[in-house]
């Protein structure tokens, strides 16, 4: 690594289904202001801007052009990366690399989505190949319904298993003022009253469409030492993709998640992920995906995540806190979602997560992004520089 990069400020809006009171630029400005305030710096201190969102959503084209007027990018360098659901994760990677390269000392990464302003389902349907699968695609919902059926079949987990995940995430979201869905769910039975989208996937199993923005400020080691907050060090990061699922013929695979975690943990000497990693904010668009992917990352043995969930081990105040923010199932402004994972881990490692602060001592955190045709971006953040 040429030089170290640290997260020195985070900001996110209070995510909602609709924010008719702000336009796209304004919602980004909110997040930028929160981040600048958090870091104790002004917009003048930012050297470059890294932005992204779902490229085609909101019916927008070249969105960073209009956005520049709002986030302080006019007259300054910047780049736009658009990698679908993993956008927020990629924004963090690019921010880390830009600082590590030595070209810029302080950069801000801004991700957002204003999903009510577009047709999210239409936007996701156009992921499908226009000539081969677009006619029948049920988009993300179809994918996750199939995933749920697959997990249940492979592991023998009962239908309640998904609902237990939902309960944990709701409990966490109630402690997170930024979360979109903050539901007072009391029991598994209550969750299972939620209507089916495509069985066994229920409405409550699936992430919402949210409007929100998130910004993180990343600085070099030298600059970080002069900022208001304790720096959170970017230890390592990785991106793994799979070929287009629409050409792969519907075969279910979590090879990207497995490979990303194996490589990232392997090259960082992490042998017992659940013991060595203190908190995980994983990007899981559905409750069932959260279970399967905790296994795929290697946090629990195959087929056992649902049993650990039943025992409550993933609660924020327990052995291995997963998504203390409430996760993607509680909040999903797609272009910001993955960046929120990084921001949440940073808050946890700083001890600044308020009511949702994990009880376990936070030294090493793991954040992931998911999207595309089965893509994974993962980061390791550390409270210490080593």
């Amino acid at each position: 690594m040429a030089r170290r990069a640290a997260v020195v400020g985070v900001g996110q809006t209070y995510h909602r289904a609709r924010r008719p009171d702000v336009n796209i630029g304004e919602i980004c400005t909110e997040a930028v202001r929160f981040a600048l305030e958090d870091a104790g710096i002004s917009i003048k201190d930012i050297d470059a801007f890294i932005t992204g969102n779902m490229e085609l959503f909101e019916g927008r084209y070249a969105q960073d052009m209009w956005q520049a007027d709002y986030i302080g990018a006019v007259g300054k360098p910047g780049i736009r990366v658009t990698t679908g659901g993993t956008t927020g994760g990629t924004l963090a990677c690019v921010a880390f690399e830009t600082v590590a390269s030595g070209i810029f000392d302080v950069v801000i990464a801004v991700g957002f989505e204003k999903q009510f302003e577009g047709d999210t389902r239409a936007g996701l349907k156009t992921v499908a190949d226009p000539l081969w699968t677009r006619w029948q695609t049920t988009g993300a919902i179809g994918y996750f319904a199939r995933q749920a059926r697959y997990y249940m079949k492979q592991t023998g987990a009962p239908e309640e298993a998904g609902s237990r995940v939902r309960l944990r995430l709701a409990k966490h979201a109630l402690r997170n003022p930024h979360a979109h869905l903050r539901l007072q769910l009391q029991s598994v039975e209550e969750v299972m009253k939620s209507p089916y989208l495509i069985p066994p996937l229920r409405q409550l199993d699936m992430c919402p469409t949210s409007e929100g923005a998130c910004a993180i400020i990343v600085a070099s080691e030298e600059k970080a030492s002069r900022m208001a907050r304790k720096p959170v060090w970017a230890k390592d990061w990785i991106t793994v993709h799979k070929e287009g699922v629409y050409t792969r013929g519907g075969q279910h695979s979590v090879a990207d998640l497995e490979m990303a975690a194996a490589k990232l943990f392997g090259r960082n000497g992490i042998k017992k992920p659940m013991a060595e990693i203190c908190v995980a904010e994983i990007y899981a668009p559905s409750t069932w995906a959260e279970l399967e992917w905790l296994e795929a990352y290697g946090f629990s043995k195959k087929g056992q995540a649902w049993e650990l969930e039943e025992k409550g081990q993933f609660d924020f105040d327990r052995e291995f806190p997963v998504n203390p923010s409430g996760g993607v199932v509680s909040t999903n402004p797609i272009g910001a979602t993955a960046l929120i994972r990084v921001a949440e881990v940073a808050l946890q490692l700083r001890g600044d997560a308020g009511e949702r602060q994990i009880v376990r001592k936070p030294t090493l955190g793991f954040s992931t992004a998911w999207g595309g045709s089965g893509w994974t971006v993962a980061h390791l953040l550390s409270a210490t520089k080593d």
Partner: protein, 383 residues
């Protein structure tokens, strides 16, 4: 640490009814991997793609382009949603950061698949004011051209002369959509789109793809005898609201170039850079961007154009490749500028090219309405 370009490949730019956009990406990636002998997937650590969801007509267009570039369970892929020069810039940053040793950069676009490009461009403007008056990029360019004309007393003939010179240069470039020369009168007589921009003043739409390999110094020297180092980069946003800018003042380009020159330790680009490959999506832009890059004083670009100095045989060649006007697809455009500069630097002194032993070149990409965003890359041959 030095980062170099070691190989590049481009498809001819034309209409491709026989291939899908991702297949065009595959063809250039196959070619560039053959040139370096690098195996797919293991040979590089990262892939940066450049494509447009809007022009491909699908969300996450990089699913296909990434797959064709070898992303499957391998190096992973990231998409730059801007002009291709920015993809090269990101590739450079990746290697410089130490996170990757070798990076594959691709760009692809099939402009001719889209029947309503003006609609897409219109949606690139802010929702509240500019979109609703029906602006598209050609109209924004026309506004900029008019500002430019009024500020310095330029004429349509000056812009038409740009087209004549670019098309003349382009005759020797087999990649361009058209290698045909055009006369001043043909340009002036071509269909008016938005005054003063007529159809020959505008880059021809076409399909195509390109790819290149970037590597850190040790690897670059293993992969080629003729690496071309990236010495400086710069990028800059201008204001989006056209009325907030003096459209005839290319301040964003000036700042991007300034950063690139500083990084490359260049004090006088006119003397220290041997040739320039810049992105003129419209004819007037060649003049305006030359001013932004500091190749002449503000308002003097027409004089520079007419002096012949920027011709292939002149003292300061600009777009010896023929630039974009002859037809290079958008998104590919900025990356194409880099590849043209790279190619000419690699070839050293070329018979009849009129450029003796070029050592340093500048490549430039522009994106957004009326060049709202600019990206500048300085290249230096290392052999």
């Amino acid at each position: 640490m030095k980062v170099g370009i070691v190989a590049a490949a481009q498809s001819p730019f034309r209409e491709y009814p026989e291939w899908r956009p991702q297949e065009l990406t595959y063809l250039v990636v196959e070619e560039v991997l053959k040139k370096t002998g690098l195996p797919f997937r293991e040979g590089y650590d990262d892939i940066i793609t450049c494509s447009s969801d809007h022009w491909d007509g699908k969300t996450l267009s990089d699913i296909e382009h990434g797959e064709m570039a070898g992303a499957h369970l391998g190096p992973g892929e990231e998409k730059v949603g801007m002009d291709g020069a920015n993809a090269v810039l990101l590739g450079y940053i990746k290697v410089l950061s130490g996170h990757a040793d070798v990076v594959l950069v691709t760009a692809a676009c099939k402009e001719r698949d889209v029947l309503d490009p003006c609609v897409i461009e219109n949606f690139g403007f802010d929702v509240t004011y500019q979109q609703l008056i029906g602006l598209d990029f050609t109209q924004a360019a026309a506004l900029q051209a008019m500002s430019f004309m009024h500020k310095y007393g330029l004429k349509r003939e000056d812009f038409a002369e740009v087209v004549v010179q670019m098309r003349r240069n382009g005759q020797a470039n087999p990649h361009l959509f058209s290698q045909q020369e055009v006369s001043l009168n043909e340009v002036l007589g071509s269909e008016m789109l938005a005054y003063p921009i007529s159809s020959l003043d505008k880059k021809a739409p076409c399909d195509g793809a390109c790819a290149m390999i970037l590597a850190k110094e040790e690897r670059a020297k293993e992969l080629t005898e003729q690496p071309v180092w990236i010495k400086g980069i710069g990028s800059c946003y201008d204001a989006h609201n056209l009325g907030d800018r003096d459209l005839a003042d290319p301040e964003a380009l000036f700042r991007a170039a300034k950063d690139a020159y500083r990084m490359a330790a260049i004090k006088d680009p006119k003397k220290e850079i041997d040739f320039f490959e810049i992105s003129e999506h419209y004819s007037y832009q060649l003049l305006l961007w030359m001013e932004g890059l500091g190749l002449c004083e503000r308002g003097e670009s027409a004089k520079l154009l007419h002096s012949g100095k920027i011709g292939k045989e002149g003292g300061m060649p600009v777009n010896p490749s023929g630039g974009l006007l002859g037809g290079v697809p958008r998104y590919v455009a900025g990356a194409n500028r880099v590849i043209e500069a790279f190619g000419r630097l690699q070839e050293k002194a070329k018979e009849g090219a009129g450029i003796k032993e070029p050592r340093v070149a500048l490549a430039h990409g522009a994106y957004g309405p009326a060049g709202q965003h600019h990206c500048v890359i300085i290249l230096e041959r290392g052999f």
